[in-house]
Symmetry: C2
Subunit: 203 residues, 2 copies
Amino acid sequence: MTTTTSAPVAAPTPQEFGVGARVTLAVMRDDYVDVILGALRATDVSGLTVATDPVSTFVGGDEQSIVRFLVDLTGRAAASGAHVSATITFSRGCPGEVACSPTVARASEVPSVERVGRDALAQWALYPLSDAPSADHMRDIYAAIDHAKELGTFAGSEHFVTNLRGDLADVIATAAAGWVLVGRTVPHVTSHLTVSLNSPSVA
Amino acid sequence: MTTTTSAPVAAPTPQEFGVGARVTLAVMRDDYVDVILGALRATDVSGLTVATDPVSTFVGGDEQSIVRFLVDLTGRAAASGAHVSATITFSRGCPGEVACSPTVARASEVPSVERVGRDALAQWALYPLSDAPSADHMRDIYAAIDHAKELGTFAGSEHFVTNLRGDLADVIATAAAGWVLVGRTVPHVTSHLTVSLNSPSVA
């Protein structure tokens, strides 16, 4: 039997680790206020901290609940039939604006969510923000893009972004999966996704 | 007189260095298609490569021209009187989706643009993506936020983002300035800005 002088350190909670997202819903119709506020009111916020400001809605909590919230919220807005653009930022490892205390990564399960039967187009960027000597941010990004190809949502490469297309749930889950997977080795990771629903540009 | 066996290396052009931006304009009114396409058609694209896809518009060129384009485009959309949300991504140092060949930074002038007399709210995030041994991405972000305070657009810190408020031109120029300033020492830098115009949430 071995003994140790240091007490076991509890893994940080999602809140302590700054696991969260921001979403800006844009609804391109005259009744956008009713659609946006109606979707926000109807979406289940169990286990989450949710705060809406004039530019976006912050949602903090565990990865699975965040993904469920985002799929539900954007799906409800799109159910209005209006053209909807949702700008989503995932972040982990930096609890405040710039209070990046974590120096170790936090392993999480890849969120899974059921398909909702709604087609989405999106553009995605993933940012591993590692200052470690082993940092190789493009290696991590390539791995996440390979994961998107496995999921079937990869729809091509463009300047600065990866195009995604598929069921709304799969598209949001792809961006979240890359974020969680890179987050197993990099403490501070963000992922940006612009989702287009009911686009008149798509047949 | 000294001689050298290596030919002088020309600095990369903005295009070669992958200097560019993406913008998604969301206009929250029934006539959004006319407003968005009208703004895109009316905005001067001199010296720029512009390509619109179903999710966003890519604009490549020098920093000054990109900022002028973005201020003009978003200002024209807002001149409709509709509530407008613009999602902007600046990128440098990664010409393709993941083709990050540059290993040295590229110094550029901080873009300057005249005020347009239109108030904007925004949330801003800046990502220095350095793998160098000297990497300290939070040091670079702190410096950029200090710069926003000097410009007078800093409006507080939130989870994952910095709030900006001020003339539309100053708000966009703030995000571009942080991007260019960090870009003097870090090859690959992106900056994300969500701009809200004519918001009913603001008195």
